[in-house]
Amino acid sequence: MTEDLKIDGHVDAIAVDDEPTTGVSGSTEESDMLCAVAPVGLLAELTHRCPLQCPYCSNPVELESVKNELSTEEWCSVMRQAGKMGILQVHLSGGEPTARKDLEEIVKTAADAGLYTNLITAAVNVKRERLEKLQELGLDHVQVSVQDVNPAGADRIGAFKNALEKKLEFARWVTELGMPLTVNAPIHRHNIHNVPRYIDLAVDLGAQRIEIAHAQYYGWAFLNRAALIPTYEETIASIEYVEAARERLKGVLTIDMVVPDYYAKRPKPCMGGWGKGFMNITPAGKVLPCHAAESIPELQFDSVRDKKLLDIWMDSEAFNAFRGTEWMKEPCKSCAFKEVDYGGCRCQAMAITKDPRNTDPACSLSPYHTEMVKVAKSEAAKPATTFVYRNTRNAAQVGKAHDEPLVPAE
């Protein structure tokens, strides 16, 4: 959710989140100008390897194999191009980015290129010396995911033993070294009641920021929706808690929240508009307008192996497919909010309605909205289903079953 950060007429903020559900805010004029030049944010998924197996992972269901990953030099070239074309922030993510042995070189190149560097890590396999080295090379900010505030819950959700203890130790190193820390709290029915404890934990760790990131139901989370989606009532209670905490902790902790849009009336301005301020690069070098864009079968993606990053941003078919408002159908086309929410999320429209040009069914004007909410509420009311963990074995299984409709909402 984009908040209005206009401060006393002197400062505007453009929010750029690694979870590309928070979009670009600020004046339209400015964003239009950015679009003509370059995105402000780049999400670099360095690898899909990960020690955790969280069932809501934002990676595509078809995981990229190690042998297809970009080389060190290819990633370094991406960072240099990004700095040159005017990208301001790079989010080094995955999978688990520290699984790349050359992370140091990539961070250094990004920092040298003038990019503000953000490491998004599961933090279960990183030694203090490595963090110190990364800081020395120019790493600006660290985001640590915390699957739950109690150890058993964290172990079960991530399918990794003693994860919480390792994460907290790492998070303390971050603040001890004077680096800004974000706690990423992925929220769903198994931990939604722990939102207050998450916020206390972030304060206790000396975090600068926490993301209360309700699972977004694409990819793995879509497969696991019946295992993850909280009830409407739980969701509203958690949102109210966060809003009160935000006021109480003003100046102490920044609390950003991504809410589950199934229970919203209006869709989120996904990516702040398609191809407007943000791009994503997969481990194999494909350049996407958002991390879930590969779920739209009609799109063709260019690779940094074949083309320059700026050319891809300006000219690639995938970026131009849903840029602006020309592509819209009704009810988006004549909607007063079309330049506010851009019709919501194309990937969600695809997943639920099978047509990426439809209004995001999170919008109450979508003919699919009522049915989608009904299905979600009925799933939330039933006992949680078993997790389909995010791993290569399950990816292969799901891949085979791809022809079967995964879509319950029609």
Partner: protein
């Protein structure tokens, strides 16, 4: 705005010595010809006055020092400027961008 002092919240007054944390980066964004303040998962676009203030937030100058500095530069009354600077910095502090 509820002006309640919470533990850890900086309340800015004219004696405060504001500090912009090292992890924030004030840079000129040449491609778009503007200043940006790069912060964790945020990009702020300060205007000329905010840039002038932020550049002086070194943890040693007080708000009064900063106001005096700007008063000389912009030929404006220091008292008026000090009140504006307090307001600007309080908002920035509440969003986590300025420490005391």
């Amino acid at each position: 705005m509820a002006d309640v002092k919470q533990p850890g919240r900086l309340m800015v007054d004219r004696a405060t010595k504001p500090l912009m944390p090292r992890y924030l980066k004030l840079r000129h964004d040449a491609g778009r010809d503007r200043w940006v303040l790069l912060a964790p998962e945020r990009i702020l676009t300060p205007d000329a006055i905010a840039v002038a203030v932020l550049k002086l937030c070194d943890g040693e100058r007080t708000v009064d020092d900063i106001a005096a500095n700007l008063a000389a530069e912009y030929s404006a009354p220091a008292d008026v400027i000090a009140a504006d600077v307090v307001e600007l910095l309080q908002d920035l502090a509440d969003k986590g961008y300025i420490k005391g």
